[in-house]
């Protein structure tokens, strides 16, 4: 495209946005007040904006088809892009707090849609604070998978409440996930890995997947390989710690 020649943020060879123009700080404060638009309720999430080819009009859309996968803190969107072709029939959304990074993922998805007509129509991204606004995006039991890949470790004890996996926030994730839905977590920080596992283990609405189930799940393989963060860890031959749990119904 002609415009691309003049735009240095888009790579000439691949047509994809170039990451160095979207560098952002590695961390963002989830406690600060948000100044971006937030949908009032799940029914007000505009699907035609996120998936224009699948939903040409938001008013007349098929209300039964809903977002099923959520990548919380999707970063540069590597996982979404891998999942998109693996589950082409499933709508998925990435949620990212850092504005610039969200912009990058948006551009990346648009470029992929142009480069591969008919593909990557089922993924999108929104800038939001998922620790605050999960119920604004998803109804009860709407999701079948939630991903938390390489979240901010927040080492200091006084900052533990900023961690995206915490006993109280798991209540909200359990609300958004349907029974049988799966929550995937992975980190390269051992302490955080322990923390996430303990939180999930102690929560009455989640149970660990067996090793056979982990083996059979195609999404598990993507955890360490699909994201930019995961590839970085692999490059440095670092260790990763994952915890994958299933949403179960409450004991009577």
């Amino acid at each position: 495209m002609l415009e691309n020649d003049a735009n240095p943020t888009i790579s000439k060879s691949t047509g994809l946005p170039r990451k160095r123009f979207y560098r952002a700080r590695a961390h963002s404060n989830p406690l600060s007040d948000s100044h971006f638009p937030v949908p009032i309720s799940p029914s007000e999430v505009d699907y035609s904006l996120h998936y224009p080819q699948l939903f040409p009009s938001n008013d007349q859309r098929d209300r039964s088809k809903k977002i099923e996968f959520a990548d919380i803190g999707c970063g540069f969107g590597g996982l979404l892009i891998s999942l998109s072709t693996l589950f082409p029939e499933t709508l998925m959304i990435g949620m990212e707090l850092r504005d610039k990074v969200t912009e990058y993922v948006k551009e990346r998805i648009l470029a992929l849609r142009v480069a591969h007509p008919g593909q990557y129509q089922n993924i999108s991204v929104d800038r939001t604070n998922s620790m605050k606004y999960i119920p604004n995006y998803f109804e009860k039991a709407q999701l079948s998978k939630m991903f938390f890949l390489f979240p901010d470790p927040h080492f200091k004890e006084k900052n533990h409440r900023r961690r995206v996996i915490s006993p109280h926030l798991l209540d909200e994730y359990a609300y958004a996930l349907r029974v049988g839905g799966i929550i995937y977590t992975i980190t390269d920080v051992e302490e955080l890995g322990e923390w996430m596992k303990t939180c999930l283990e102690n929560h009455p609405l989640f149970e660990a997947l067996t090793s056979e189930e982990l083996e059979a799940d195609p999404a598990v393989k993507l955890l360490s390989s699909a994201t930019e963060e995961g590839q970085k860890v692999a490059r440095n031959e670092g260790q990763t710690f994952q915890a994958v749990y299933r949403r179960i119904s409450a004991a009577p």
């Binding site: 735009n7 007040d33 605050k132 209540d171």
Partner: protein, 433 residues
């Protein structure tokens, strides 16, 4: 977190005032008013002021009280606020029977219908539960209870906390427009993990919630008031919005002054006559709005605006008992620094509600003269702390309460231009044109 300059901190201290609160015993045995750190109770049965007895290590409140309520059985009373203590009183002896220390300032509290648990919310959005096992009758010596965290709204200020009428659910409202309905567990010490629903629809902070009883529905219907100047009716099982009643235009009509772009926030609401009627207090409204709640058709509609014209009276809190036809109102503020005035409170009562025929109520409700209020002048002297007032102070008080509320609950708004201006040097923006 950004550092605030010193002078800004000082001005914040000035505007941080607490509205006066009122609560009536469920069978109208007593009335309580909280103004600043002062808790005042009048015994309507004995027709005398009550002296509170607090022998705990930290007796009485040291800072503004933010929440007061009676248990539905009328045996317990809770007060809590900015001094990070929750005090549980016996309404028989008016002794403080439990003193609970909170880590943060307390913004809301509720007593479970069976009287066995107290829940309170702190300013960081965490809701705590205190198990009262035994000790409630007030005969045992004072004990310090420990609170256990129950659930959390992520870093949002919880504005209101209520149990459903059957005690099955705990409902919490916050400044991020949300109302959360949580199944109240049989063993609350193990935390409450099951979220029944979220009631979403308000477009500004939710300031107050209340339950309306209904024969077909044991947990009751929920109503909520908000900074978006609406009152909404909800089904808490599904979280679905049943009706929205916009009261903003009613207030506008009444005071045709120029107040463009500024919502009149609902500050307090209270159900009357078994829930057929709802009284609503609104910022800047001299009086209250009465709504009719038709549960068979799931509708809320304005019946009447009861205006108080003879003096400046913008109620900050409303309360009623289930047994009598009185609506109790208070207006006031913890302190007015800039006017060199300490606390201020004025109590008024409205009578004439008819639960069998809510529509006829419109013509019958009237403001009770001061000397005809139950308890009479003795009550007013106790609860108001005096009988004579400077009219102008109340207007200043209403303004102070309004500013404090908006500082506390409304996010700072930045225009799109201002936001874009701050992003102007970003690489991705700079080069995109």
């Amino acid at each position: 977190m950004e550092e605030t300059p010193a002078e800004e901190g000082d001005t914040n201290k000035d505007v941080e005032v607490a509205p006066a609160l009122i609560a009536v015993h469920p069978t109208e045995k007593s009335v309580a008013v909280a103004v600043g750190s002062d808790l005042r109770v009048f015994d309507l049965v004995g027709n005398c002021p009550v002296s509170l007895v607090d022998e705990s290590e930290a007796p009485y409140h040291k800072d503004s009280i933010r929440t007061i309520c009676y248990g539905s059985k009328g045996k317990l009373f809770v007060s809590a606020g900015d001094d990070k203590t929750v005090k549980i009183w016996s309404t028989e002896s008016w002794r403080c029977i439990f003193n609970v220390v909170s880590e943060k300032r307390v913004s809301a509290a509720a007593i479970s219908p069976n009287g066995l648990h107290i829940c309170f919310a702190d300013k960081f959005g965490v809701i705590w539960v205190v198990d009262l096992d035994g000790g409630v009758d007030g005969t045992q010596p004072l004990a310090n209870k420990k609170a256990v965290s129950l659930l959390s709204h992520y870093c949002s200020i919880i504005t209101s906390l209520e149990f459903s009428l059957d005690g099955q659910f705990l409902v919490s409202a916050d400044r991020d427009f949300k109302i959360r309905v949580t199944t109240f567990p049989t063993k609350p010490v193990n935390e409450a993990h099951e979220i029944q629903s979220f009631c979403l629809g308000h477009t500004d902070f939710v300031s107050c919630i209340a339950f309306i009883s209904n024969l077909e529905c044991s947990h009751g219907f929920l109503i909520s008031g908000s900074g978006d100047s609406t009152v909404r009716l909800w089904d808490i099982l599904s979280g679905s919005l049943l009706d929205t009643c916009d009261i903003g235009d009613k207030v506008e009509l009444l005071e045709s002054k120029e107040r463009e772009g500024c919502h009149s926030a609902v500050t307090s609401l209270c159900t009357i006559a078994d829930g057929a009627l709802v009284a609503v207090a609104v910022q800047s409204l001299h009086g209250i709005i009465l709504l009719n709640c038709d549960l068979s058709n799931h509708t809320l509609s304005v019946v009447k605006v009861v205006s108080i014209s003879e003096e400046t009276f913008i109620p900050t809190s409303l309360s009623t008992s289930c047994s009598t036809g009185y609506l109790w109102m208070v207006t006031g503020v913890s302190s007015l620094h800039n006017l060199g005035h300490s606390s201020l409170a004025r109590v008024k009562v409205i009578s004439g509600f008819n639960k069998d025929d809510p529509n006829s109520t419109a013509n019958k409700v009237s403001i009770v003269e001061d000397d005809a209020i139950p308890g009479g002048m003795k009550l007013l002297e106790k609860l108001q702390g005096g009988l004579t007032f400077d009219e102008k102070m109340f207007l200043a008080a209403a303004e102070a309460v309004k500013t404090a509320m908006s500082n506390l609950l409304t996010k700072k708004q930045y225009s799109t231009e201002k936001r874009d201006f701050r992003k102007r040097t970003r690489n991705d923006r700079k080069l995109k044109q």
